[in-house]
Amino acid sequence: MPSQQELDFQISPLVQESLVHNTRTLHNLQSLTASLFGVGAGILGLESYSGFLFYLVFSLITTLLFYALRIAPTAISSPSSSSSSTTSKGGVLSRYFRSPLDFWTAGLTNGLAGFILTWTLFYGLVRA
């Protein structure tokens, strides 16, 4: 006997291509912006913990902005939202991403290496 979760997936399957497309879009944005934050941290001359705090704050802002500009507006405009029950189940986020936790935290690890690279580079350039 298949489990309840398997049954659910059979009844309403997920589209893998869309899932890949969404996570790739978010991932690209995050690695691009992470190196941007590195530039900022280098210009400001941040050192040790304050630099990482800067990164943490700004990558959270990125995800928040992405949510506010790209995901939240679709909840209102979608014509099918009146009939579908998916929106009521787990918010708008579940329409595009599998787990909300992934969405909010994946950005922290995605761009860390890029951040440190540009951080040290611009710190050196500006302070030299």
Partner: protein
């Protein structure tokens, strides 16, 4: 309903506010029914030849007029790009200022050391440069986020519904071009059967259609 094992899935639909359960069975049973008779025709069985041409024409016209009303997605790219460009300018300026500032600092430290005055501590960055940096980053951030391609629904029904309902319109990227990996209904080939196409029949149908067109115009 009596035997849950025969029902593979149960689907729930909401109708008129109250929900009820309609059982959907995908268990494939094979039993032969003897039937031969007239074939009732649904429109999909002759859609190839019965396309009302008038509708197609009006559709394409109203499509082009409708385009002017709604903001084109290519203007979206322009907005995103100009915001990002403006932010980058700000950031470059902030970077240059910070560099100048630190150069000035070290120069002043060197001269003050020569004058044997009390060495000033390395002052932190002026407030305006810090603010400019933060603003620049935020501006670029907004530009980049606006430039990301639209999300696609991951629920099968929603995704399929989007293909059926919006067609190509729903799968455009930011340049207003239909996305390259968009292929319409990915299962359309099962019914279309391009490898089994009866080309002679299609050719005849097409010539018939052209003749019909000619008569219509007269």
């Amino acid at each position: 309903m009596k035997e849950p094992s025969t029902w593979d899935r149960v689907l729930e639909m909401r109708i008129g506010g109250e929900s009820f359960r309609l059982s959907a069975c995908t268990q494939l049973d094979r039993c032969g029914y003897g039937t031969i008779g007239m074939w009732p025709l649904l429109p999909w069985h002759f859609s190839e030849c019965s396309q009302p041409v008038g509708i197609v024409v009006t559709r394409s016209i109203s499509k082009s007029t409708a385009k002017g009303i709604y903001p084109n997605s290519s203007t979206m790219t322009l907005i995103s790009k100009s915001i990002t460009g403006f932010g980058s300018l700000l950031l470059a300026h902030a970077c240059y200022s910070a560099q100048e500032h630190s150069a000035l600092q070290s120069f002043r430290a060197a001269t003050s050391a020569a004058l044997t005055l009390t060495p000033t501590a390395a002052t932190s960055l002026p407030m305006d440069i810090a603010i400019e940096t933060a603003v620049a980053i935020l501006v670029i951030l907004v530009g980049l986020v606006l430039g990301t391609s639209p999300m696609r629904p991951i629920q099968w029904r929603e995704w399929a519904g989007k293909i059926e309902r919006e067609g190509e319109d729903g799968f455009k990227d930011n340049n207003g071009q239909v996305n390259r990996d968009y292929l319409g209904n990915p299962f359309a080939y099962i019914e279309g059967r391009p490898n089994f196409v009866d080309i002679r029949k299609q050719r005849n149908e097409f010539t018939e259609w052209v003749k019909g067109q000619g008569q219509e115009q007269k």
